[in-house]
């Protein structure tokens, strides 16, 4: 379980996050939604330690990530898997080397076990035949799947995905969403997804948090998304023609 308490962040004189609270349960795919520039990615980066918030707590199963010592922080980091917006695959390594990289760096497993585990993860995301290819030789959707394989290779307890559908066609987007949801369910991972994709919200949004100008304005599920009573959220989701027609 991940809990965030009163996370605030200011860049210069602009407040990006104004005290966000929330909790994310194991086995749930939780979404953080909102328009561009509302602080979603900053919140995610605060949660995974890439940005230090001005105030607040991030608790991983009760362990305060921000104030704990370096060794404990390392332990928590090794329980995380992160899928970045641009996949962040290492250009100089093959797909298989990318997936086994965390195993090489962070474990003492024998070579054969590492290869077996990396191939198992590639199989799980449907890319068992792409191991020898370079990241520049595969499509955007495949890169996302390799990113997911790398994120789950260490059996993480917490999975973070930053806009997993950006730049993908609707069909591939749904496949990626379903893959994230299945993996979350299968391994009982606490998954947090940043998105502004309506399909994702309706497809995998077991819990949804809506951010607006650095504040959390609403929290609920995909079932209650369209009748939240929050004007800003209604405006946000009604920007999608499909939703407007569904409501009619």
């Amino acid at each position: 379980m991940i809990e965030i308490k009163n996370i605030a962040k200011t860049f210069g004189d602009r407040q990006v996050l104004a005290g966000i609270d929330g909790s994310f349960k194991p086995g749930d795919t939780s979404l953080i939604i909102g328009g561009s520039g509302t602080g979603k990615s900053v919140l995610l980066k605060c949660m995974i330690g890439l940005i230090k918030p001005d105030s607040g707590e991030v608790l991983y199963d009760g362990r305060d990530f921000l104030t704990t010592d370096l060794n404990e922080q390392k332990t928590i980091r090794r329980e995380m898997g992160v899928l970045f917006q641009g996949s962040a695959l290492f250009d100089s390594k093959t797909v298989l080397e990318n997936v086994r990289f965390p195993l090489d760096m962070l474990t003492e497993q024998p070579e054969s076990e590492k290869i077996e585990r990396a191939q198992e993860c590639l199989r799980r995301v449907g890319l068992e035949n792409a191991g020898d290819r370079m990241p520049s030789e595969i499509s955007g959707g495949m890169k996302k799947r390799v990113g997911i394989a790398r994120a789950i290779v260490l059996n993480p307890k917490y999975l973070f995905c930053d806009e997993p559908n950006s730049g993908l066609d609707p069909l591939t987007s749904i496949k990626i969403d379903q893959l994230i949801s299945e993996i979350t369910d299968e391994y009982q991972i606490t998954t947090v997804v940043i998105t502004h994709d309506m399909n994702s919200m309706l497809e995998i949004g077991e819990k949804i948090m809506f951010l607006y100008e650095g504040n959390k304005l609403w929290e609920g599920t995909s079932a209650t998304l369209t009748h939240s009573g929050v004007n800003e959220l209604n405006e946000f989701i009604n920007a999608n023609k499909l939703i407007r027609e569904m409501e009619k």
Binding site: I48, G49, L50, L70, Q73, K74, R77, R78, M80, V82, F84, Q85, G86, A88, L89, F90, D91, P102, M105, L106
Partner: protein, 243 residues
Amino acid sequence: MSRLGSYFIFLGTLFRNREKLRVYLGLILNECTSIGVGSIFIVALVNTFIGAVTCVQTAYNLTNPFVPKNIIALIVRDSSILELAPTLSCIVLAGKVGSNIASELGTMRITEQIDALEVMGINSSSYLVLPKVIASVFMFPLLVIMAGFLSILGGYLAGTLAGVISPEEYVSGLRVDYKPFGVVFALIKTVVFAFLISTISAYRGYNVQGGALEVGAASTAAVTNSCVAIVAADFILTQLLLT
């Protein structure tokens, strides 16, 4: 001043919280190939011609019949060992290796590859930069030894082929008043230059914020800052070691 402070803090992160030694060995070998072997051609070419030009220009300016011709070789030798091979080679390497380091790290930064290392709990600066620094400090002196030899050889070929000096005069000139400390001085300078080029370029690339435009700007800044650092360090080291 704040940038200078941030540079020194960056240097500190290279040596703190490092990964296991075995992780670095493979990376250092790869960097030695990329930085060292990959630079042989350009360093050889530049220094051969610089030696040749030094020889011909010295001969052109040496009009006094009472000055023996073998002095041309002595000037080529000392210029090559003391200044041309270490300093000029390192300025060439700042352009080739420095810009490569800055753009590689800058691209990794803007494509979140460095963030990916950080969230895995890996010290990204140490993992990415330390092998480049070690490889530079190890390979640059080897390149400069080759550069000095080729510069003197270039002088010999140009001088003898152009007929400004005979082979015997050139070889005897090389042996006149030779001070072995010159080679030590050149290698000390090269090690300092290698450290400056690799760390300044890495600092510029590692701290890129923005997109492709900023990566280009970081690459340019890496080369210009390295060149300024080289000439400043050159003057200081010359003052300290040769006076």
